[in-house]
Symmetry: C2
């Protein structure tokens, strides 16, 4: 109904110039309070709404932040997103969210799209198989803040938010060792991704520290998709040396492991002790409840949001920072301990 009110309409009825209207609405100092009031009052009266298209064009800003995540429908990612959304929304930004579906190709397309859309900044958690990072160079060239979370590359130019996956892997493994495990299997995702590689390195370091590195040191790389759980079970069942400890890089996958292992009559934790990763809500609901590493996803999202906002507002103190590491924590539950 009835076309939109523009600043020109306001200018005409108020008998001032469009420039004055614009400045009034933006609370520009060189406009008297009296006129500002008049303009704002009339704007409300006529139901004026800014046209973002025009505003974006002339200001070359969109008040929009792009996000690329591997998958939306994972507890961890959606928790991070919730944190990001809350913070940036409060700061007046909107989020354009897209998923790479774990494919570098789609990640490339998405980043192109977001770049073309004129996002003011971009947050990325890498796809499973991303191996080169050239699709991010446009952002760097144009000095558009680019922040990586959780799954990060080795790009010195941009801020990364992570936890100490190495240490977490170390702690998880050492805990299993302390519980008496000798033959611990690490089940993780693509070793190209820092998170899985670092956890593995931590795992090895713990084995080494306890002199177990020559007896047993084994990595099972999978896509951590529950549909492929059978391979894992078969692997464990048929393993020459009986496995007595499992460090799984994802709670959800660990939960499936436990379920299936129980089906083939392994006792958890008696036969095999299990430690997961993430502290997914699932971890405390299954039985036995799952020992895991608490990964503060929501806090990471909040921090990511704050970092972006800071960079956009030009708070330079952040610029120096290159990597922020959040605190993790080993949460010991039933799956790894015998009472």
């Amino acid at each position: 109904m009835n076309k939109r009110i523009t600043i020109y309409d306001l200018a005409k009825t108020l008998k001032v110039s469009p420039g004055t209207v614009s400045r009034s609405l933006n609370n520009h100092p060189s406009i008297s309070d009296k006129t500002k009031q008049r303009v704002i009052a009339k704007a409300n009266e006529l139901g004026y709404k800014i046209n973002k298209f025009a505003s974006n064009l002339s200001s070359q800003k969109s008040n929009t932040i792009g996000v690329i995540v591997p998958k939306l429908n994972s507890n961890f990612m959606s928790t991070i997103l919730a944190g990001i959304e809350k913070v940036v929304n409060e700061a007046g930004y909107s989020l354009i969210i897209s998923q790479s579906l774990e494919s570098m190709e789609k990640e490339k397309i998405n980043s192109m799209t977001l770049f073309n859309s004129g996002v003011d900044a971009i947050l990325v958690s890498l796809a499973y198989d991303t191996t080169d990072y050239e699709h991010f160079t446009p952002f760097i060239k144009h000095k558009i803040p680019l922040i990586f979370l959780d799954r990060v590359p080795n790009l010195p130019e941009c801020l990364t938010l992570i936890i100490d996956n190495y240490l977490a892997g170390f702690e998880a493994t050492e805990h299993l060792i302390e519980q008496g495990c000798k033959n611990i299997l690490y089940i993780g995702g693509n070793q190209n991704r820092n998170v899985y590689l670092e956890r593995f390195k931590g795992y090895r370091a713990a084995l080494k520290k306890h002199g177990l590195d020559y007896s047993f040191d084994e990595l099972l790389e999978t896509d951590l998709d529950p549909r492929n759980i059978d391979e894992v079970i078969t692997y464990i069942k048929n393993h020459p040396t009986p496995i007595d400890g499992l460090f799984v890089a994802s709670d959800s996958f660990a939960a499936h492991c436990i379920k299936e292992l129980k089906k083939v009559s392994f006792k958890i934790p008696e036969d095999i002790k299990v430690v997961g990763f993430n502290n997914d809500p699932i971890s405390e609901l299954i039985s036995p409840s799952l020992t895991t590493i608490n990964y503060p996803g929501y806090e990471m999202g909040v921090l990511a949001g704050q970092s972006v906002i800071n960079q956009l507002k030009g708070n330079i103190d952040m610029q120096a920072t290159n990597a922020i590491s959040l605190r993790h924590e080993l949460i010991i539950r039933e799956s790894s301990t015998i009472k």
Copy 2:
């Protein structure tokens, strides 16, 4: 680095008009193939990228779809979002996602923001406490497609995507009755929301059909937040007539109920049989595994995406449709059956 190439730059180097460049890039029929090739080649050569700000302004379209959900970090919602994102992204649209955090006030603000941002369409799942819907009228007035999912209002003007919550509630309850339950408690959310109200109505209808409506008919309304699980447990524990069946409107909450009930030495399913809702991944991982209603979230997201795209492309056959109901399914597991 070097400023952005515009169609004017292209026009100048190619010695054609900006209009011709624009039409070539948009594959307009009135441009010869030869010039189109020339333009496109040069555009690639110089690394031309369209300026969406300008494009949006003159075309009055953003190729952007807004979404408001109660919470991002719920398995159900993020699954729906994954479906939506996949479909609309393939159709060339981006998603602006915001969360109301279950508050009508924030929902209002978000819808204003999205309206001002010039989204081409908007998808909404209502907040917990939304009671009036005037904040959506701008979309209706301006004929911007407005689609509701799952948590929907009674607005005849717009498409709603739901499942038959009434029937699902009926089936869940009847299943419990068939398993021998006499005193079945329904635990649901705010009765203002269709989903919880309809499930309750279905529950009552099942009781009535089996002549149980005078003996026991009880609703426990909660916010379904695990932090408030204690009230529920206390309620059940102290109930004058022993409760032997539980129909919980959320799997996640049901899982917490089971966990806590087990703690206070109720046997599930022997003492109390439980049916949840949603078929959350958690439901098959807990023990006893949870009988539930399969709610096809991803499919709903896909359908929502398709519906939006259809409306945007002007496929009028959709316009007539007012409500689409997806198929649900009772999945019987251990929490409600004694083998």
